[in-house]
Structure formats: structure tokens, C-alpha cells
């Protein structure tokens, strides 16, 4: 039985690459297909697991086939169709196509041919064969919730952190992370990222023993900081990518995402391990401060990232942990389908990636941060189209 994990070299030698599609274009096709699955699924009230499963099928499919041979939106519909059945939330093929059609331009829909249903149904068999009937897929969501239950710290911040990590997991579906790392590791990495951004400090954790340096040592082995940061960057890079053809109204794009995250990795090419007790030095070669945008992260829909935008990019079924955060985090469990979009603290504190500051030390990289409470200068909101 095949394994489903690939290294970066393999990802760059995909069937599409061998078929003459450049890497950047392939990543865009992957993102667009994943997004169609998520948007179609959300519109049809499918659960986050169904959508995530569909997206993982989609990414796996294109490790065996080229985007030239199989048009991405047809494949996306087929993956969602199959995932619906596997996750026990079946939807009629024609309804999926109808919903997808409403989300695509007429020109994009032409790839479905004269008989769209037949097109998708025929593909189902090819899809099944390609993914070798390996239909059960695990996602980072469940691990995220499981890990969060073990963490001790400020409860409100923890809740925010979980909400933010959840959003990152949603967004990670648009990357090839699910082809690179197990869901446990992705969950750890994105919780680490969300923890930094929301300034949640892990005071202690349940089940801690003397061998554990980090909370995640309890759940995953041999995870280096380099690995975690690489995963975080792959998600963060989404927010600096261009979607210009689809969203001509998007705010201007930022040329170098890496430079906007000096605290994660300096742009001089040296990989530095970021550790709480040794914050990396500020990258002196970074752009002049005036060039650093206030809100360097754009969601891939072109909307800026603050909470409101996240919520609309991923409609309610994807937006947060089911039934709100883990019960013990919030006292009595709220009876709402999804928690209200959190207002992330990092919105007010660019640069968004702040390192853990040793107690008593001056805040790290303060130059870019406006005085606390000062509203951001420019924060247009572009609803996703």
C-alpha cells in the first residue's frame, strides 16, 4: 500500500511539473481546487471533516495525475462528492455540481463539458483507483482539540489560540502540508504559531513529565523547531500570495513575505532556530519600516486577515471548533454552532509574529508595533467573491 507523504523534492516533481506546469501555477491550482471544495461544501452545510477529507483526496490525486489531463474544478467536485459518502454526509452529485457552478465563472465551468454529472461520475472511479480506496483520512482538527485540553494557562487566551489555530488548519488545506506531514504534527505547528500570535503562554500541561521540554513532546516525537517553523511558513505564505486574477480589487500585494516575518526566520538565508530563551536577532536588512505593511497577511481570498475576514472566508461550519471550544475551556459549553469570530489580539500588534519574550525583558521587535490600543491605519475589508 502506498504511503501518502512526500518530501519537497517529490512535490516539485509532480506529474503536473513533468507535464510542463510550473510549481507556482500548480500550487495555485491546488489552492483554487481546495478552495472550491471548501466553499461548495460550506454552502451545502457539509462538516469541516468532509471538506478536509475531500481536499486531502484532491491533493493526493494530483500526485498521480497532471492538472493538464484532469481539470481541477471537476476533480474538486468529485473529491467532495466522494468525501461526502465516506464521511456519511452524502450529497447528490448534481447538487454538488449545481453549487459549484454558482461559485465558478461560466468560463471556468466549461471544463465540466456537456454532461457535468457524467464527467464527475466517471472521474469517481479513477479517483478511487488513484487513492487506492484509502478513504479514511485524519485531520489536524481532532488533535488540535485534544492537545488544547491538556494545556494550562490563561483560559481566555487559550480559547483565542484554539480559534486561531483552527483557522490556520482550515487555511493549511490550501497548501500541500497534508502531503508532507501527519495531522498530529500540523496541529502542533499551527498551535505553536497561534500561541505566539495570540500571546498565549503555556504555563504547564497535563501529563507533563521530566522528559518533556515542550508540551508537544508528550504527543509527537522528534519535532524540531525548524520543522515547526517550516510548516508555519507554508501557511503564512498563503496570506502573501497573489490572487489577482480572481480578486482584482485586492489590496496591493507584498513582495516578500519572509521579510515580514523577521522573527521567524531572517531573510539572509540562514536558518535560525527560534527558541523562547533565545529570540533571534532583528533582521537588519529588512525593508525600511515605512515599507513594512501594517497588515502583512492577506488571506488568499484577497481579504485582509483580521477576524471578520476569516469568518467569511470559511463560513460557520469551518470557522471554529464544533460546538465552541472544548467545554472545560469556557465554563458552560455555549450552545452555538460556531464560536463568534475571535478578535485576534495580533490585529493590533503588527508585526503579527511576536516571539515569546522572557519575563521582564523588553518586548521583542517593538519598532513596528503601534502603541497598544491604537487602531490599525488601513484595514479595508473585501468580502470574498
Amino acid at each position: 500500500m502506498p504511503g501518502w507523504y512526500y518530501d519537497k523534492k517529490e512535490l516539485r516533481h509532480s506529474p503536473s511539473a513533468q507535464d510542463g506546469i510550473d510549481y507556482k501555477t500548480e500550487m495555485r491550482y491546488r489552492k483554487e481546487g481546495a478552495r472550491l471544495i471548501i466553499n461548495t461544501g460550506s454552502k451545502m452545510d457539509l462538516g469541516y471533516n468532509t471538506m478536509a477529507t475531500g481536499v486531502v483526496y484532491y491533493h493526493r490525486f494530483y500526485m498521480f495525475h497532471s492538472f493538464k489531463q484532469f481539470p481541477r474544478y471537476v476533480t474538486a467536485c468529485c473529491c467532495l462528492f466522494l468525501a461526502g459518502k465516506v464521511e456519511e454526509t452524502p450529497k447528490k452529485c448534481k447538487d454538488i455540481i449545481k453549487t459549484a457552478k454558482s461559485l465558478l465563472t461560466d468560463q471556468k465551468f466549461t471544463t465540466f463539458g456537456e454532461d457535468p454529472k457524467e464527467e464527475v461520475m466517471t472521474l469517481e472511479r479513477i479517483l478511487l483507483q488513484t487513492i487506492k480506496f484509502d478513504l479514511q483520512v485524519e485531520h489536524p482538527y481532532q488533535y488540535l482539540l485534544k492537545y488544547a485540553k491538556c494545556l494550562k494557562g490563561d483560559k481566555q487566551k487559550l480559547q483565542k489560540m484554539v480559534q486561531m489555530a483552527w483557522t490556520f488548519v482550515n487555511d493549511s488545506l490550501c497548501t500541500t502540508l497534508a502531503l508532507q506531514w501527519e495531522p498530529e504534527i500540523i496541529a502542533v505547528a499551527l498551535m505553536y504559531l497561534a500561541g505566539k500570535l495570540s500571546k498565549f503562554e503555556v504555563v504547564d500541561w497535563m501529563g507533563r513529565n521530566t522528559k518533556h521540554c515542550r508540551w508537544w513532546d508528550m504527543f509527537v516525537e522528534d519535532v524540531t523547531m525548524d520543522l515547526l517553523e517550516d510548516i508555519c511558513h507554508q501557511v503564512l505564505d498563503l496570506y502573501s500570495q497573489s490572487d489577482a486574477p480572481i480578486h482584482p480589487d485586492s489590496p496591493p500585494l507584498h513582495s516578500n513575505a519572509k521579510q515580514q516575518m523577521p522573527s521567524l526566520r531572517p531573510s539572509n538565508g540562514q536558518e535560525k532556530t527560534l527558541s523562547p530563551d533565545r529570540p533571534p536577532s532583528v533582521n537588519a536588512k529588512g525593508p525600511p519600516l515605512s515599507d513594512v505593511p501594517q497588515f502583512p497577511y492577506q488571506t488568499f481570498t484577497g481579504a485582509p486577515p483580521p477576524a471578520a475576514a476569516y469568518a467569511s472566508v470559511f463560513p460557520s461550519s469551518m470557522a471554529g471548533p464544533p460546538g465552541g471550544p472544548p467545554p472545560h475551556l469556557s465554563g458552560p459549553p455555549p450552545h452555538i454552532a460556531a464560536p463568534p469570530p475571535a478578535v485576534f489580539s495580533y490585529v493590533n500588534h503588527p508585526p503579527p509574529f511576536s516571539t515569546v519574550v522572557p519575563p521582564g525583558a523588553p518586548p521583542y521587535f517593538p519598532a513596528n508595533a503601534p502603541p497598544p490600543g491604537q487602531p490599525p491605519q488601513h484595514r479595508p475589508y473585501y468580502p470574498p467573491q
Binding site: K85, C93, K132
Partner: protein
């Protein structure tokens, strides 16, 4: 037959043709290992491949990840030729040379108590694993209990009950009734206890070397059962609407299990009787059976 889609396997010969489709022995060209290819035909519905099939195949693949010692390994799933309204697929399993039925034939002098205990434990271990994964085998019999060259049991042919239903209707192959539980014969709803009944029959067969109840029809099978175990009291007869009536059976000249297998020990007899209990709700479970005295006492060669 064609294997256009499975270039890596070279079919050698047909090794079985059951109600559940055909099984071929084949060679994996990559590894040189023998494999068993099972051809399964799935009808395509209005909405493509049925959920039952998807569910069962993915469960089979999930089970596989546990590497249970008494479960046959699923190595691969391939696609056969493309048909209009059907999906042909091949499930590739590890190939095990013999099944329990040939194993019994080869031991015409009988098994020792220790052997019977070990075979029974392994069967129960496999079935307990299936049951804890919410799988009812439904068709346990010596033919689909495989025996490895070093004498260990591996269960085969499970997990596709709903997928198989389709093929069952198409084939005229007679399904053996001999290991069927009374509730199946009576057409009632059934669950995991049906497998325990089958194991009870199989353990007796390990002692006597021949099938316990060889019925030719549902009714005949039931009367053969009652002849050995006695007819249950009328109060035990299911209340659900069933076509077979309690008073349609006349049991005379009863023969008991210990007359069928005189070499049976007392604890084995007790275990078998708790497996061959008419009422499925009172039948012992696989886990309980594994903790039965029979498996705990000192091995005694008989």
C-alpha cells in the same frame, strides 16, 4: 480474464469460487510473493459507488493497520476492467496455502487437546477483534479460516457483507447453512452472536473431524440443531413474526454433544454449550469466551 489495471499481479490459477465471487492465486511481480486476488463486483447506483461499499472497503483498510495476527492481510486494492454499470475491483490479500477444512482433512487422526485449545483461542481472538470493530463476519466456516504453515489461524472473507449482497443474488452457488445460527435460519435480525454460534460448531468439528449440523434447508438445519441440543421451550421461541412455527418441529432420538465427540473434556463441553445457546442474547461473547476456564486451565493432552 483480464488484468489490464493490475499489471503488477500475474494470475496463476483460480483457487476458489464462492457465493462471494472468485478468488485467484497470483504472483506479485514486484516482490515475487504469492497473493490471493479476490474479484469483487460492485453495482454502480444513481450516485456512483454505493456508500456501503465505500464504508466496508475503508474499514477493511483501517483494520489492516492494526496488524492483528489472526486476520488475513489486505495488501492492495486494484481496479478491474471498466464496465458500464459495475465496478470490478480486486482485493489483494496475502496468500495462505490451506484453510481449516483441508487442515482437518490432513489430520485424520485428530487433534490433541492442546492443539484444539490453541486453534479455538486464535479463532476467538480474530473474531473478538472484528466484533470490537463492529464487524460481524456472518459466514464463519472452516473454508474461510486460513491456517498458516506453522499452524496459526487467520480469518478471511469478512467485512464485505453488504457489498457481497449484490453478488449473492446473482450467483447460484449454494451458501452453506451448516454454521448458521438459529436466528439467521429463522430470518430474524442478527448481530455478533451469530459468529459465536459458528465458532461453537467449528470447535466441535475440531474434536469430531466432521461437521456438526449438516442441514439441507433452513428447516432441516434447525431440526438437526434441535436433535442435538434439544428444542428450546416455547417461551424461548422468538416473538417476532416468523414463518417457522415452534410446533412444526418434532424432536425424537436426541443425541448429545458428548456422544458426538467422546474425547471432549468437561470445560470444552461447557464452553461449547454456552456458544450453542439458542437465545443469542444469552450466548457467550467472544471476549467472555476467551476468559472461559477452557483457556485458563493447564494444557492437558487428550
Amino acid at each position: 480474464m483480464s488484468f489490464e489495471k493490475s499489471h503488477t499481479y500475474e494470475a496463476l490459477n483460480r483457487i476458489g469460487r464462492g457465493a462471494y465471487g472468485t478468488v485467484y492465486k497470483a504472483k506479485d511481480k514486484k516482490t515475487g510473493n504469492d497473493v490471493a486476488l479476490k474479484r469483487v463486483c460492485v453495482p454502480l447506483s444513481e450516485d456512483g459507488i454505493p456508500m456501503n461499499t465505500l464504508r466496508e472497503i475503508s474499514l477493511l483498510r483501517q483494520l489492516n493497520t492494526h496488524d492483528h495476527p489472526n486476520i488475513v492481510r489486505l495488501l492492495d486494492v486494484c481496479h478491474g476492467q471498466q464496465m458500464e454499470r459495475e465496478l470490478i475491483m480486486y482485493l489483494v490479500f496475502e496468500h495462505v496455502e490451506q484453510d481449516l477444512s483441508t487442515y482437518i482433512e490432513r489430520h485424520s487422526k485428530g487433534f490433541s487437546g492442546v492443539q484444539i485449545r490453541s486453534l479455538s483461542r486464535e479463532i476467538l481472538n480474530g473474531v473478538d477483534f472484528l466484533h470490537s470493530n463492529r464487524i460481524v463476519h456472518r459466514d464463519l466456516k472452516p473454508q474461510n479460516l486460513l491456517v498458516t504453515h506453522d499452524g496459526h489461524i487467520k480469518l478471511a472473507d469478512f467485512g464485505l457483507a453488504k457489498t457481497y449482497d449484490f453478488e449473492m443474488k446473482l450467483t447460484s452457488v449454494v451458501v452453506t447453512l451448516w454454521y448458521r445460527a438459529p436466528e439467521v435460519l429463522l430470518g430474524l435480525t442478527y448481530a455478533t452472536p451469530v459468529d459465536i454460534w459458528s465458532i461453537g460448531c467449528i470447535i466441535v468439528e475440531l474434536y469430531s473431524l466432521k461437521p456438526l449440523f449438516c442441514g439441507e434447508s433452513d428447516g432441516d438445519q434447525l431440526s438437526k440443531i434441535f436433535r442435538v441440543l434439544g428444542k428450546p421451550p416455547e417461551s424461548e421461541w422468538p416473538e417476532e413474526n416468523i414463518s417457522i412455527k415452534w410446533n412444526s418441529f418434532n424432536v425424537n432420538s436426541q443425541i448429545s454433544i458428548d456422544r458426538i465427540c467422546p474425547n471432549i473434556c468437561e470445560t470444552a463441553y461447557d464452553l461449547i454449550m454456552s456458544m450453542l445457546t439458542f437465545n443469542p442474547k444469552r450466548r457467550i461473547t467472544a471476549l467472555e469466551a476467551l476468559n472461559h476456564r477452557f483457556f485458563l486451565e493447564e494444557p492437558i493432552n487428550t
